[in-house]
Structure formats: structure tokens, C-alpha cells
Symmetry: C2
Subunit: 339 residues, 2 copies
């Protein structure tokens, strides 16, 4: 099987290479693509060096394309990639809301991936992190309302987001005044309740993605979901405070037990030992950390919890590769297994 | 009138001096007290320099004492101060939950201060910031449920909290590994969902303070309130995402209008112009910034909003001085007006 990464030099592209190195996915050739100005860049993979090429105009000679170069490139080029015979796992929001494009988190709705028509969408990072924790609770206790407040890292805006945080923090520590190019305002030691564009209803697109995508992944349009998405001065890993109203009452003990068995989740919930989810411990980790599990004080039988998940991994690269692994396990990826 | 500040060298003490300089409070003598190791320190006030003295064992010869030296000192010494004839406005949590101690935010329940028996409690900073925004909405529309997620600055742990963030951030930027003494974990580029001690119900004391104190200030024990309190790497100003279920439906326009007339609030809510509450703009400001006002997606007729308030000011020093100003305006502070 021939695999291609489009957007190989970005923050998610970097993680895709690392995740593929330790993946169970069987493939031969690996092609790396990015914008023309990155052509010729060499990236390490499995002890070798692979040369990045400029993304071509038309089809790519690959069986599986992992696309993470932004919505406009996916929107423009994915149809040609599909016409050329590839299965596309797309990390952008370009196709997520199209009814015949599956939106997949393998632990939650892997089987939806099998119904693809060439394109499978990877969810928004905030949604992916939340849904691995919420899905098992939804299945067992029935989520009615879900209120999410996020603590999102600068790498959600890519490498340039990380760079701006580090560079501008140095400016502030040197006694200067921070500037902003990537973010709407200076990010060092600040909090910006603005991620992606504002919609007519006053919510940002980032916030509405959590609403739309969680419903689509859980297959339940009746879910009432609200989100406040906030950028904070961290490098990596999105944290989220989540309040759940449930149809059937749950105790924290039941939730901990259930989540302890759930795939993709690490229950990290021992406050006495200062164990709870944090970017410091969740960064670089495949599992989403879930903790601070407690009975809701506003919904009888409901739950409050706190999650921290590496949004470049479960929120992007890891989830995309897990979709590919699932498809291959199900015999739904063509191409020779080893090149 | 003779005023004394106990805890003058701390983060809140520093702000008390600045706020008193521009206050309408009429007073003569100002005495500064702190721990013995700070005795002799000189602090600027109104163009002069005042010398800090060690807090004495018994009474203090003052009519008004602004105490901000921590709960154990207040608990130990406030009764003697009251016995000595002073009115004590206490910034610690030592007396907040005693039924005969008023807990006061002047814009919300100033008249409660008049019923004091010597001690008036200043609320927890997170509560004070939230309640100036929520109280007008509660009066008009009736809050039923309130869900709060906080983004709290390191200065909530005092000067040493700020210092640890700055020092340890320098360590990380220099390629080292951050340590932690003030906070439970390294704070640079991290998120710590742990402020104050954990309670039996799994909530922290900081979270329960928001529950208990909001109810007491609003005078409504039926309010269902939940909080997730989170320390983030900012220097100053607590931000909060707040979701409100209301008895009578409110539109964002109604809320903006109402809050635009409310004391202590600055409506900063023009997303198209990138105007919303942020530490960057709220720090050093007396008013609490309120914005991102939008119809709730989980409670019909409810509201979502985002607030940012300088917790050293409205959350501490400013609120304490405003209580004193209110008492003096009401003729409820004794002592000569000018020394």
C-alpha cells in the first residue's frame, strides 16, 4: 500500500510521521507533500530521510492520503485524489458536515468509516478529545446536555502558533510589549476567547464545530451542547471542563469504572495524590486524560469532569492513522501491504 | 478616621495602597502592618513613604482595618481588633460563612454591610468577579442554574505566584525543566485544575467558595451553582466562562442593555471588532469586563457569557475599599474624617 501525507511539514504533519513510525498500519511507500516552498525539505522517517515534494495539481499516485494542509487545499484537491483511486482521510473541516462523508473517531464510531465514498473526515481537535471521554458515558447513561469550556493550546494554530507564543513571551520577559500576528491579540500571559470566525449566533466556528461534530459522531442530533472555546498560553494539549446532564443517574465511581475500561482514555483522577489531567502530563500521550470526575451540583445524577488530550495526536494525527488502521483491519484498504 | 492595612506588603496590600490613593474615602492616619520580617520596609503612598510595622499581638489603634494577611492571622487577631473598636474588612475566608458576618459586594448587596458586628467579609476573588456580572441578570431574569469554568491568574496565589510563573517560564525558555513550589505542578505553559484543597465531594474549596459565596451574596440558597476552578499561566485577572439557566427568558440584547447600566461592569462585546473580555485589557481596570454574551444552546432563554476581572482589584483590594466607602457614605464609620 502506498501512503501519502499532504501537509507533511506542518505541526500535524510532523506528528503524522511520528505516529506512522509506531503504527500497526502496513504500508510500503510513503510520499510527503507540502507547499512548493517546502519542496526539497528532508524529514526523518524510520531511520531514513524522505524528501518533501510540492503537492501536485491533480491526482496523487497513492492508495491512502492523509491530508492536513488546510481546508482550502482539501476542498480543491481531494476530489481529484479520490478520482485517482485514493482513500482520503482529511484533517480539515472542508467535508466534515457533508452527509455522505463519515466523521470518525475509531473508538466511538469506527464502523462509520466503512461507509465512505472516498473521503473520511477527521474531527476538530477539541471535539475528538472530548468525545472519547463522553461517548462511553453517553452510551451507558445517555447525555442530555453537555457544557464545555476549553483551554486550548497555541499549537492548535500550527507551528506558527507555538512560535508566536515562545517569541512573544521572550519579548514580555525582556520588558517589551508583545505583538500578535497569528492570534487576534498578544497571547503571552493572556486569555483569548476567540478561536476561528464568529458566527451569526455569537458563537465562534470552533465552538459550533464542537456542537455539530459531537452530534454527528455520537449519531444523536437531539443532544444539547454548548461550548466556550478559549485560547490560552500553552504549547500543546487542549484541556476541557465538561458538565453533563444525564438521562440515567451516574455516580463518579461508576463513571471512573466505565472510563477505566474505555479505549483511548486514561483515567487520571486521584486528587489526593495531585493526579488530574494536565497538558504537562497529557502532551505526547496517545490516551486522553480524564479526571476531576465528580457529581454535578447543577444536574441531579449528572457529572462534571476535566479532560486533557494532545490535540496534535488524538485531536489530529493519531486519530487519522487510527482510522487507517481500522480500515486496514477491516480489509477496506486496497493496495499491496508492503512495497 | 484612622485606617490600618494588615498584610501591606502582599499582592493585595500593594493594590490596597493604590486604590486608597484615588479613593473617595476620607481618612487621616494610615498605618501599615505585615509580618515581622517586613517591618521597616517603606512603601509609597500619596507622594510620601510609610513604614511597615510588625502586626501587634492585640488591638490596633484604628477605626478601620483592611486585613489581607491570610485566614489564620485574621481568625486569630480580628476578634481583638473588633474588641479594640475597629471595623474590620477581611479579605480572607476566615469569617465568610459565619451567619452574622456580612459578605459584601457593594454593587450587589451593599446594605448587608450595615448589619455588621465588627467584621465584614470580602468575597473570594473568583466569586466577586462573577457576581457583579450575574447579579443584575439574576434580579431581572432569575438565575436558576449557573455553571462556571475559571481561568485564574497566578497572582491569585500572591506575589510569590507571579514570581514562580515568571522565573519558571524563563527556565523553560532557557531549555530547562520547570519546578514548582507555590503551585502543585509546574505552571509555565501548563493548566492546573486544582486551586485550594480538595473537599470530600471532589470539588476544591475554591470551587465550593463560588457556590457558597454566590448564594450568600445573592441571598438565594436555592441557586444551583457548579464551578471548575483552573490555574493557568497568566499574571493577573481571572476570566470565567459562565452558562446561566434563567427563570424568565433573556435575549443577548436585553442582557447587554441591562449590564451596560450596571455598576462595576464594562460591557465589552463586539466580536466583529475583536472586542471581548481578556486579561490583557481587564488588568488594572476597576470594572469587570463582560462579553461573548449569547443565547445558551443548552437552556432555552438562557445565556452564555465570558467575564474578565482584575482579581486583585474587584476580587480583593478595590472591593474592600468600596465597602469602606459605602459605610462612610452611610455614616456608618466612626472616627474623625481627616486626621
Amino acid at each position: 500500500m502506498r501512503v501519502a501525507i499532504v501537509g507533511a511539514t506542518g505541526a500535524v504533519g510532523h506528528e503524522l510521521l511520528r505516529v506512522l513510525e509506531s503504527s500497526t498500519l502496513k504500508f510500503g511507500e510513503l510520499q510527503l507533500y507540502a507547499s512548493p516552498r517546502s519542496a526539497g525539505v528532508k524529514l526523518p522517517f524510520g531511520g531514513q530521510e524522505l524528501t518533501v515534494q510540492a503537492t501536485p495539481e491533480g491526482a496523487i499516485n497513492a492508495d491512502l492520503i492523509l491530508a492536513s494542509a488546510g481546508g482550502s487545499i482539501s476542498k480543491e484537491k481531494a476530489p481529484a485524489w479520490v478520482a485517482g483511486g485514493a482513500v482520503v482521510i482529511d484533517n480539515s473541516s472542508a467535508f466534515r458536515y457533508e452527509p455522505d462523508v463519515p466523521l470518525v473517531v475509531p473508538e466511538v464510531n469506527g464502523e462509520a468509516a466503512l461507509r465512505h465514498k472516498g473521503i473520511i473526515a477527521n474531527p476538530n481537535c477539541t471535539t475528538a478529545v472530548a468525545v472519547v471521554a463522553v461517548a462511553p458515558l453517553h452510551r451507558e447513561f445517555g447525555v442530555r446536555r453537555m457544557i464545555v469550556s476549553t483551554y486550548q493550546a497555541t499549537s492548535g494554530a500550527g507551528q506558527k502558533g507555538i512560535k508566536e507564543l515562545l517569541d512573544q513571551t521572550r519579548v514580555v520577559l525582556g520588558g517589551g510589549e508583545a505583538g500578535a500576528e497569528v492570534f487576534a491579540h498578544p497571547i503571552p500571559f493572556n486569555v483569548i476567547p476567540h478561536i476561528d470566525a464568529f458566527q451569526e449566533n455569537g458563537y465562534t466556528k470552533e465552538e459550533m464545530k464542537v456542537v455539530w461534530e459531537t452530534r454527528k459522531i455520537l449519531g444523536d442530533d437531539s443532544l444539547k451542547i454548548s461550548c466556550t472555546a478559549v485560547r490560552i498560553p500553552t504549547l500543546r494539549t487542549h484541556s476541557e471542563a465538561i458538565t453533563l446532564e444525564l438521562e440515567r443517574p451516574a455516580t463518579p465511581e461508576q463513571a471512573r469504572k466505565l472510563l477505566g475500561r474505555a479505549a483511548g482514555v486514561e483515567v487520571r483522577d486521584d486528587p489526593g495524590a495531585k493526579l488530574y489531567p494536565m497538558p504537562l502530563t497529557a502532551s505526547g500521550k496517545y490516551d486522553v486524560e480524564v479526571g476531576r470526575i465528580r457529581s454535578s451540583l447543577v444536574f441531579e445524577g449528572g457529572l462534571d469532569l476535566f479532560v486533557a488530550g494532545d490535540q496534535l495526536l488524538k485531536g489530529a494525527a493519531l486519530n487519522a492513522v487510527q482510522i487507517a488502521e481500522y480500515l486496514q483491519e477491516q480489509g477496506a484498504l486496497k493496495g499491496r501491504v508492503a512495497g
